[in-house]
Amino acid sequence: MRTALREFVLDDSGMPESDDYLVALGPRLRWRSDGRARTVRRAWLDTFDWRLYRAGLTLELTSGRGPGQLTLTGRDGAVVAAQQAGAAGGRPRWPGLLAALPVGPLRERLRPVVGVRALMPVARAASTTRDLRVLNSDDKTVARVTVDRMSVSYPARAVLPPRLTVTALRGYQAQADRLADILAAARGVAAGAAGALEAALAAAGRQPGDYTGKISVRLAPQAPAVVAVAAVLEQLLGTLQANVGGVLRDIDSEFLHDLRIAVRRTRSTLKLAGDVLPDGIASRFRPEFKWLGDLTTPTRDLDVYLLGFDAMAAGLAAAAPAELRPFHDYLAGRRAAEQRQLARGLRSTRFSKLTAEWREALSAAAATRKARPAAAQLAGRRIRKAHRRVLADGGAITAASAPERMHELRKRCKDLRYLLEIFGSLYDPGEHWQAVRELKSLQDCLGEFQDTEVQREEIRTFAAQMMDRRTAPAATLLAMGEVAAGLAIRQRQARSEFAGRFRDFASPASQQRILAMTETAAS
């Protein structure tokens, strides 16, 4: 049994094909080659938004002879779970959803981290490894040194300097530590700080965690507002474009989700701060982004249904979940059709023209020399205004108000939320987080109120359509009726919670926070 690892990287200019670094071990420690070199193919899997990496996990797929092996390790390199890659229905193909993996501890450990996202290769490489035994004066092995020569084939071709891993045999930790110290001091040997995945990505010119759906541009408070707004819009365009491929290949539902959010944020920025952009850019592009937003809506709405389907079926009291099956099939069929429609739109000239022209317009905007207003000034003014609107509209809602008033308030809250997100980097992170949290609690309630209403209406429409096509058994329609009833109950619940949520949001302390936060940044 072996324990404790230490890793080293050999200097590239060193001794590429010999084991001369072991000469540095001196006469007291001897070594012997152990068996022949082995070559394994390696691939590292993660979600598009690096959920495993962010959770400190690494999932590696190795395949040499025989079936591949999936190994999940933690930050310290310790194995969290491992299993053969082959599922009952054959070898899973990547990208693929978690459901493609066989049931077991590995899948269970990944489930909360990966969620609905697909796992896809983030790097591929081939490793040729050779084992060396380090012996003491009794010719007893005290440690093993593995020399790994890795060449990366994806995301770009690169050859890595050899990596050495020192493993102690149980009960020989002190000797292995001494060996590692000697190696560390040897010429051309450096401590290997990065794991194999990081090293592979770095060699290929990528960094793990380099995609995020969040707005991450750092804005300077005194920068011209036009520059700041253009910078945010440019990042949103980047996010939008980064997700197109995944939407077209239909890898998982979140590509479309992130793409839509980028579009919605773009539209809100144009609406709420687009006036700082030159030459009527905002009014020119707003209709185009509305088109793009509308293009994505049907597929996303169906995704939301399908993602929540199991929970919906599990919530049935009278009907059996299986009775909803035709409804599921109907939704899946509709989604497939809508997805084709969506893909056609994203492949259209209109879309490529939109993104190309938009990029050009943003570069032009960023180059304008209009210093006033400053970013923080504009942000403060717009956030406070949006905040006042939410307070006024929300304060006017009573138990007797029509649902439309709630829907209107939801839109005002979204305006405020997007402004807070767009300009978030100007503010103290703690205060900003708190402000968003308070708003989010109100938004969740309004969202539940409206979504349940919309879904209830949609279920009626779906039911009518299924009747027309004669694809709906009576039991399914009854079950759908029960789902609709459940939605009505949830909507009433949300309505009853509204007053309390709004009271918290409109509290003097919370109001003061928005004012203080935006004014400090602008001063």
């Binding site: 049994m1 007893k140 092995t141 045999l169 149980r170 009960g171």
Partner: protein, 254 residues
């Protein structure tokens, strides 16, 4: 965790060679194996090139001031660890005598290693003592090497009778002929006849071979330096019988 012990009152009958080679074969089958060299002469420890020293000696282990876990050494072979001998093991009898329920002590000491090992081999010193009694209580299967003489059958009967007197769990006995000289007709006759008459005698007999003696020169299990030899084949057959006798489930893939 299944515990195998190699036991015989007599010395020089092939106990250590059996423990070392069978432990190697078990590890090669994928089981996580621990061999505890209980003999202060430290022959098994020497064969694995480990220094015969345990910090705090047998006293620390028996009194529990040091866990077995901390004294374990990895061998040069995957899945095979060794708990080395120490010269203070010559006093294990006295130490056990001072402990509570001395005959159950060894089993209790091994308890915490249950999650870590699938198979344990105990290599005992030749004697009748408190230590050997504790070993007999801890073991699931006793591997008893017999020299092919009529006297050795009597010894086996005595052992069987002794174990029959145990309360609770009793180890299975799997005796086998060791150091068979194929030039001697008496050896051949006894080794062929007895397994047919008694279920506690293995069909496999280990011949007296110079390759087995060479283990102490090569300092390795016989399979490691002569994998295709008659000696290696004999031990593989014996391991197959021992494994079956212990009803050992197949090793889990790792």
């Amino acid at each position: 965790m299944k515990i195998f012990a190699t036991y015989n009152i007599k010395g020089g009958v092939g106990k250590t060679a059996t423990a070392v080679n069978l432990a190697y074969l078990a590890a090669r089958d994928g089981y996580r194996v621990l061999l505890w060299d209980l003999d202060p002469q430290a022959a098994a420890t020497y064969l694995f090139r480990v220094r015969p020293r345990v910090k705090g000696g047998g006293k620390a282990l028996v009194q529990g001031t040091r866990s077995l876990d901390a004294a374990i050494k990895g061998t040069d072979f995957d899945n095979l660890d060794l708990l080395p001998a120490d010269f203070t093991y010559r006093n294990l009898d006295l130490l056990l005598d001072a402990a509570k329920k001395p005959t159950r002590k060894l089993g209790r000491l091994l308890g915490p290693l249950r999650a870590e090992y699938d198979v344990v081999f105990l290599d005992c010193p030749p004697s009748i003592s408190l230590l050997s009694e504790s070993v007999l209580h801890a073991a699931d299967v006793l591997l008893v090497p017999l020299i092919p003489t009529t006297l050795s059958v009597r010894t086996l009967d005595q052992l069987t009778e002794f174990i029959a007197g145990f309360d609770g769990d009793r180890p299975d006995i799997l005796a086998f002929f060791s150091m068979i000289d194929r030039r001697k007709s008496l050896h051949k006759e006894i080794a062929a006849a007895l397994p047919r008459q008694r279920s506690d005698v293995a069909a496999t007999a280990i011949p007296a071979l110079s390759l087995i003696e060479q283990m102490s020169v090569r300092r390795a299990p016989v399979m490691a330096f002569a994998p295709r030899s008659t000696a290696a084949r004999s031990y593989a057959e014996l391991w197959a019988e021992a494994r079956k006798r212990a009803a050992l489930p197949p090793a889990k893939p790792r």
